[in-house]
């Protein structure tokens, strides 16, 4: 199973409500995935600033004085926002790589969930309602976001095995399904220089897209390539800094429904996830076609 939700706002007036809308959508998908939940939210950053989202199994220890330690390492001040087991570091964009290197020494236990201009990722083991509350997701604003409720099949129920996966700047991917050739694709991607944090099949799909994008493919082309290169069941929803995409495998067993109005484009594994959105009664609601790439950009 697993549940996916996604919301891409066209009407800027809705941006302050993004987290609240996505949280409601996520919670309706609890019985598709009660193991763990996660959300990637694109909330922007001030000009010239970027963000790193970190996760730690021992946040009290790892996040204490982290801003001061990074300031010392980089020679520049950074802002630190701690949310439960995650922390968001805001810093000048040109310091992101230096900060990642420094973090590997300063806080070896902490994992980087995402980096980019706009993206923040929060994910944990537990019921979606509890996960959303721990990170106070309902109070977050932003332009677009994707969420996932997980019923694990291919790897263990852990924080790092939860979705979304982010393998490139401002990129994220969530998945309903299971891939059967992920070990092979992972080996090929490792040879091509990609790094992996888990044994999870979905991380391979995310890294596959990142690798294609690095090679110069457009997001549409990279999504198209999943249809020939990835074997298995999948409905993918991906996010980039400015966009939101959907692709389903040619057999399309994994459910998907979309809705579009003047104000938004929304994705749900089931219509239930969309039923609470404003103006849904008048929305265009449809099932995305198999083996067809859909993409929206602002």
């Amino acid at each position: 199973m697993c549940g996916i939700v996604g919301l891409f706002l066209k009407d800027r007036a809705l941006e302050p409500q993004l987290g609240a809308l996505l949280t409601d959508m996520l919670v309706t998908m609890t019985d598709r995935g009660p193991d763990s939940a996660g959300i990637a939210i694109y909330s922007g950053a001030a000009d010239g600033l970027g963000k790193i989202t970190l996760q730690s199994p021992q946040p009290g220890e790892d996040f204490r004085d982290l801003d001061a330690d990074l300031h010392a390492a980089l020679g520049q001040p950074v802002a630190l926002r701690v949310k439960d087991t995650h922390a968001v570091i805001e810093l000048p964009q040109d310091q992101i790589e230096a900060a990642r290197s420094a973090l590997a020494h300063l806080r070896p236990r902490a994992k980087v969930m995402s980096v980019g201009d706009s993206i923040e990722i929060f994910k944990e083991v537990g019921l979606p309602r509890e996960v959303a509350a721990r990170f106070d997701l309902a109070r977050m604003g932003g332009t677009h976001g994707v969420g996932h409720t997980r019923m694990a099949t291919e790897s263990a129920v852990t924080t790092l095995g939860a979705h979304p996966f982010s393998t490139g700047p401002d990129q994220c991917l969530v998945h309903n399904g299971s891939l059967s050739n992920h070990n092979n694709v992972r080996r090929e991607l490792i040879r091509a220089g990609m790094r992996f944090e888990t044994e999870n099949d979905t991380e391979v799909a995310a890294a596959f897209l990142t690798h294609r994008l690095q090679q110069g493919a457009s997001l549409g082309e990279a999504l198209e390539a999943t249809l020939s290169e990835l074997d298995g069941f999948f409905t993918f929803v991906v996010g980039t800094r400015d966009g939101f995409g959907v692709v389903r495998d040619p057999i399309a067993c994994k459910p998907a429904v979309m809705a579009e109005t003047e104000a938004y484009v929304a994705f749900g594994s089931e219509y239930r996830a969309l039923a609470g959105l404003p103006g849904i009664e008048a929305a265009r609601v449809w099932e995305p076609e198999p083996a067809t790439v859909y993409f929206w950009e602002r």
């Binding site: 040619p250 057999i251 399309a252 067993c253 459910p255 429904v257 089931e270 219509y271 239930r272 996830a273 969309l274 039923a275 609470g276 609601v285 449809w286 099932e287 198999p290």
Partner: protein, 229 residues
């Protein structure tokens, strides 16, 4: 009319009330408000009643239906009217995957489009789709009729047994052992009746359709294959 609001009462209580109608005849007209994509609405009915669902439904609406008429005034999620035995299910909007799957009798009318695997393994149900159907529809369909006013997706009627398929538009591809067959007068008469019952006789004429069925090469025992068994 009995009106039940799913925003106030539970789905379980609704379905229990509908199941309790067996044998009763004085509450034959029902309305369900605020379905909001809930699963298994009005599944397992066995009484000659009519249930109007005012909105879109989730998985398995009107599954296993006997006798009842379930009218969905919205779109239906996966498995609408799955394993229907008798009665009528009408979907005003679109239907998701495997609509009418394994249905043994009754009539399913979809006024919009149906997605993949419509009528998979159907065993006697009649399905009339006013729009298009997706891939792998009527896979291993055994008996009954599938009528499509629009187009059919890939692999129509793969591994078909004795169900009849009528398509007015294009067929992207036929599945293994599914072939086009001659439309004889008895088929035109049958189709006329199906279009009338399927509320589509004002939209299409029987002469506009092509008939597809089993070539009977896949499921029949062939003496040439005896050594394989």
């Amino acid at each position: 009319m009995q009106s039940y609001d799913l925003a106030e009462g539970s789905l379980r209580a609704l379905n229990q009330a509908l199941h309790d109608l067996k044998g009763l005849t004085n509450m034959t007209d029902w309305e369900v408000l605020n379905p909001r994509g809930a699963h298994a609405i009005a599944a397992g009915l066995d009484a000659p009643v009519t249930v109007h669902v005012r909105g879109s439904t989730g998985y398995y609406c009107a599954g296993m239906n006997k006798q009842a008429t379930v009218h969905i005034h919205g779109s239906a999620g996966p498995g609408v009217a799955e394993n229907m035995m008798s009665g009528t299910v009408i979907v005003e909007g679109d239907a998701s995957q495997y609509a009418g799957a394994t249905g043994r009798g009754g009539l399913l009318v979809i006024k919009g489009n149906a997605s993949s695997r419509c009528g998979i393994s159907m065993k006697g149900i009649d399905i009339v789709v006013h729009g298009n159907i997706g891939h792998m529809s009527a896979f291993m369909a055994q008996s009954g009729n599938l009528v499509v006013l629009g187009d059919a997706g890939e692999a129509l009627g793969d591994s078909l047994y004795e169900a009849r398929i009528f398509v007015r538009g294009s067929v992207k591809s036929l599945g293994a052992d599914c072939i086009e067959k001659e439309m004889r007068p008895e088929h035109l008469a049958l189709l006329e009746e199906l279009l009338r019952r399927g509320l589509a006789d004002h939209k299409a004429r029987p002469e506009e359709f092509r008939r597809y069925g089993s070539a009977r090469r896949l499921y029949n025992f062939s003496i040439d294959n005896a050594s394989s068994y």
